[in-house]
């Protein structure tokens, strides 16, 4: 059976892609680790930076390890769609769960009413 890549059997390009991807991933991982451990920013800022570094490494691995650009366009479509729904569910859950305060037991009804006024602007 004919092997598909027999012509460029010795082509370094894909190997190079893996090496670049590997190095970039190590860099982003170490960066995220050190800025956290050394506390280079405030906690809130760190959250956004760690998040961004994670997204960068995600893109690096998707491009260099998984070759999302080439191949079936359905891979890209299904990936973006999944990302979209995951964000809705995760952000939606966090928003909802953070707001489920109406029936909190550790405040009196009057305190609760004041809390809701303040938070909802009504």
């Amino acid at each position: 059976m004919k092997k598909p890549q027999l012509e460029n059997r010795h082509s370094p390009a894909p190997f190079l892609a893996y090496i670049i991807g590997f190095v970039l991933s190590i860099v982003t991982t170490l960066a995220a680790y050190f800025i956290t451990v050394k506390r280079l920013w405030t906690a809130d800022a760190l959250i956004y930076i760690i998040l961004s570094l994670a997204v960068v490494q995600l893109i690096v691995q998707i491009v260099f390890f998984l070759h999302i650009g080439r191949g079936s366009r359905w891979k890209a479509i299904s990936f973006y769609f999944m990302l979209f729904v995951v964000l809705i569910i995760v952000i939606g859950t966090i928003w909802i769960m953070h707001n489920l305060n109406y029936n909190m037991m550790d405040m009196s009804p009057a305190e609760m009413k004041e809390y809701m006024h303040a938070n909802e602007g009504i």
């Binding site: 894909p14 190997f15 995220a32 680790y33 994670a54 390890f65 569910i89």
Partner: protein, 197 residues
């Protein structure tokens, strides 16, 4: 190409895309687990017990992360070598992947065991339940990957890198890369962010 050969090539492409689509559903699974962790990683969820900041050993986790990341690299090399007919090199990288993956899992199990032995188990608080299940589910996927890898290694050796087994390796490598990508987010959200005081 004959109709039959075309069909076989299409079937392989279908398996690859199908696995990819299935992995997207697995991302949804992890998404729900991340949402759960985010909800329970609070003052209430910790229930007076230790939080991530108290429990997580980030150096240890960094080592785990490097092991898994390297294994993702080596499996890529293994597949490239296999498609180019470099069988010995492919087997070397594949076995390296297995060892790196197994080490990752061993370290993770050790970490879990330590926590449980100190009394910080999944039964102690909602936060710990969420932690063990999110990280544990990833670990379970790694275990599945390792079993799959063992089967692939065995078949490649037994049948001398038959084309269908090389194709199975490509599917496995897709799965393995996906697991490393999920780990990026566990590392970032659970350990780095979740472990901040």
């Amino acid at each position: 190409m004959t109709t039959r050969a075309k069909e076989i090539a299409e079937t392989q492409e279908r398996k690859s895309l199908g696995l990819w689509v299935y992995l997207m559903t697995d991302c949804m699974l992890f998404g729900a687990l991340f949402a759960t962790f985010a909800t329970l990683n609070t003052h209430v969820g910790v229930f007076g017990g230790p939080s991530g900041a108290d429990l997580f050993n980030l150096k240890f986790v960094l080592v785990e992360t490097m092991l898994l990341l390297t294994s993702s690299f080596t499996i890529g090399l293994a597949y490239l070598c296999a498609t180019r007919g470099f069988k010995a090199q492919s087997m070397f990288w594949l076995i390296s992947t297995f060892l790196l993956g197994a080490s990752f899992l061993a370290l993770e199990l050790w970490e879990f065991n330590q926590l449980a032995a100190e009394g910080h188990g999944w039964w102690s608080s909602a936060f710990l339940s969420a932690y063990f299940v999110l990280v544990g589910t990833h670990g379970a996927h790694i275990a599945v990957g390792l079993i799959w890898m063992a089967v692939v290694i065995f078949r490649l050796l037994q049948r001398n890198f038959k084309q269908t087994d090389v194709q199975r390796l490509s599917l496995l490598s897709l799965f393995w890369h996906f697991l490393d990508i999920i780990w990026i987010f566990i590392f970032s959200f659970v350990y780095l962010i979740g472990g901040m005081s």
